[in-house]
Amino acid sequence: MVSDTAEGPGQSWRRDVFDVLKAAGVKHIVYVPDAGHSTALRLAEADPEINAVVLTTEEEGIGYLAGAWLGGERGALLMQSSGVGNCINTLGLVACARFPFLTVVTMRGDWAEFNQWQNPMGQATEAALRLMGVMTWRADDPKDVAPLLRGAATMAFEGDGACAVLLGQRLIGEKEWVK
């Protein structure tokens, strides 16, 4: 499996995701789990100031974050690229009411993918987000994660933007299927 440690060279981005969200004033981290998010999810679940909310399907997160914003609070959706497909119609809510929307998407079907069933949605993920009016940034290098996410958070929360940061498979690492 992909390493779930925040230690070691090139792995600090795993913690950066959480630290940047926290520094941006995020109080709600809503998610459908993915191995690439496991460090951020563990930190979110352990933080008493953060509501960490597990979802049954990703579009629930869009409604939840809209509601939290109506109530004056910031949040972010963590999901895998396959979940972007589940969000398409619900992203209309973000567009029509210009709700701030910040999501961090771990990519599959993107690079060195063993399971080709991930490829159709993985290859369509960025285009699908853009079709629905979501701005996108891609991180394939560990040093890019924090600045890209910080910038996306600014555009989401200060400018009512819909913003997605995609974490590429080259960043996350190859999933080992056979040991």
Binding site: K27, H28, T57, E60, G63, L70, E73, T90, G92, A97
Partner: protein
Amino acid sequence: MSAINVPGGTLERRGVVADLLRERGDLMVVTGLGSPSYDVMAAGDHDLNYYLWAAMGSSMTVGLGLAMAQPDRPVLVVTGDGESLMGFGALATIALRRPRNLSIVILDNGHFGETGMQPSHAGQGIELTRVAEACGFPVVDLVTERQGVEPLRRRIHAKESLNLAVVKIEAVNLPRALPPRDGVYVKNRFRAALGFRPA
């Protein structure tokens, strides 16, 4: 085998919703698209109403996020059986969080009213109260008579427990009372009423 067609009920939806929204105080209301939005609008537009016009299945999750962000105020979601069915998973997500200030009222006529009164799953044997119970909702109520409405109204304001009520209403389409469709306006108006400024 033909479908078992169980009509929703006999209660008149506008009257039920108007009663639920009496003396609403600091109550915040989220409505599912279609008739529940019209019912809430017909009872009187309000800065603390958030009407959904799309994103079917989202009223309960919007209500959850709002209830989590504003834990000291009561939050009411008014939706229908059709919208609830599309957001089925949200019942599980909400049951895990259990916000004490969140009430969900499902106006169940057993039909997709907005699209021509096609029978819904709820009208063909799926009891939404049983689904909520299976998910672990601590308080689940089935309202089939008008006298069940006032206890429900009090429960909404009590903020003592997450609760869900299915109100069995008549399957009729009433004249529409259209809420504002400008989502940005309704959002900013809602937030302003809570003291938050636009970006």
